[in-house]
């Protein structure tokens, strides 16, 4: 089945696991893939695409070994194939300049400051995935019970028709 993937890019294993745990309530409908750095993220992205799935949301740390998170988000925004991915920076150490670059050049959708709360992360992921499915999916019904149902209903009201 064609699934939507949440890609988490975080180098510290404990933090990565914590994010994955906090996203558990989404795993019934979405697949969570973990990457430890940008290189790894590219590999995951390739696997996802070859498997017929696609990434809908990238949750990305900034300070990573090797390439920086913001640079990767800019790269995602420049490629036509990955532009529709919702981009969220989840970090404690992005300076003002990096953040500005993320907003202007990566079309950043949200900034989550560490440490985050489960509720906050949930709300952000729910909201971003709702935006993604409204923009990219024909059939919204499978997502009503897990994402922002009221907003999905409004979108369905616009495009739904009697058969």
């Amino acid at each position: 089945m064609n699934r939507i993937v949440i890609l988490v890019i975080e180098d510290e294993p404990e933090v990565r696991e914590a994010i994955a745990r906090d996203l558990q309530s989404f795993t019934g409908h979405f697949q969570v893939e973990l990457a430890e750095d940008v290189q790894d993220a590219r590999t995951v992205m390739d696997e996802v695409t070859t498997g017929g799935d696609r990434v809908g949301l990238a949750l990305c740390d900034h300070l990573l070994p090797g390439e920086r998170g913001v640079d990767y988000l800019v790269e995602l925004n420049e490629e036509a194939a990955t532009r529709s991915i919702r981009k969220v920076l989840i970090t404690g150490q992005a300076g003002l300049e990096d953040t500005i670059r993320a907003v202007n050049e990566a079309d950043l959708d949200h900034y989550v400051a560490k440490p985050w709360t489960v509720e906050n992360l949930h709300d952000v992921v729910r909201g971003q995935l709702t935006d993604f499915v409204i923009d990219n999916e024909d059939d919204l019904l499978p997502y009503v019970s897990v994402l922002d149902g009221a907003r999905l209903m409004a979108a369905i009201a616009e495009r739904g028709f009697d058969r």
Partner: protein
Amino acid sequence: MALTKRPVRMSLKGKLSRPVGLVLGAIVFTLPYVVEFEGLSVAGHRIFSVFLLAIVLWVTEAIPLHATAALIILLEILLISDKALPPLPAGFEAPSFSTFFASLAHPVLMLFLGGFFLADGAAKFRLDQNMARVLLRPFGDSPTRIMLGLMLITAAFSMFMSNTATTATLMAVVLPVIATLAPEDRLRTGLALSIPVAANIGGIGTPVGTPPNAIAVGSLADAGISISFVQWMVMAVPMMVVLLLIAWYLLTRLFPARERSLQLTIHATFDKSRPAQVFYVTFAVTVALWMTEPLHGISSSIVGFLPVVILLATRVFSARDLQSVQWHVLWLVAGGIALGIGVNASGLDAWLVGLVGFESIGKALLILALASVALLLSTFISNSATANLLIPIGLSLALSDAVAATPSLVAFFIAIGASLAMALPVSTPPNAIAFSTGAVNTRDLAVTGSIIGVTGLVLYVFAAPLLWDLTGVTP
């Protein structure tokens, strides 16, 4: 938590149905070319092919519903019009090919287009959401009364908007409430079901309520029988209200509330911009003209074109808005109308009627049978496709000397039978929406949907005619 994967799609529209539908379609299409049916003309044979193909394609959805409609129009032109290939034998008065193209701009489609403009405008200026919130206020905070309010409002809206859009709009109001209820509170299910049920029932109320009604009105117009907007409402609305109240009572019994009071967000801010005001006035004038047809005599389809002209001329609707009209729904209706024209012109209808000894069936039984078949069929396939396939047959039966039932009643009851089908998630998009919330399971839907469907059928077929006699509005 149970996963809402896509059970909605599984039954008839699985991956296999496409190739199976196409192959089966090709086989049934060739059948009348291979087998010669006694007493059926050459044109009749050809349209029989088209009809059989339409059944297969509309049931399996091997190609989209509206594509089947377009295919029917093309095939009819190629097979039985004055441009037919090979030409039909002399003596057969082939209809002009433009007759079939004209079904795409049939008057009833203009009526429907007007309905689309009103519905799209209501959504654009959030009139629907605001009205829903304002109208809910008087119903207070008791769960059962709120449910009644929701159902009345949903039904009223869905008389003019599509059942699907109405359901989604009202569901957006209700979902936040459902989220606050305890998981074991049955009211969750009751609320989630009340909206699609009311939308399905409300669609019966006017000719623009839902496509099957348009197909009925359009096919009747082609048979020379005109039904006005008000006439339809007089026939449909009283029983609609009764059925709505029965459905409400049933839902409150089946899904009793634990919570004593509910908090609804009822903030409403009406758009007061100039375009919005133009729209409000246009809406009111159009509906008023529809309701007063007996006074001024302007047919509802002509009135339907009025909001189209006004809203485009005042730039309240842009070219983009015009583009976003759901033309495919109109085309689906056109396909049914074109099929009816072909079936009638080719003489297939008379032949089909002569095939079975319908003299033995009484009028009432015929109507009950057709409405039941419509109910059953549209539980599984599209309501519009059901009406498209059954109304031409029903009308030819009604018009034949052997049966002589009132044609308008036959078309009316088939359309209503199709709307009453709501026992499965696949039955109608509103049901699929309710199902998607996760608050409703298949069993809840099956129990509620079949009770309401059968009750509605009995009410309409048996009680409605008595009421018409009583009030002297017999069509």
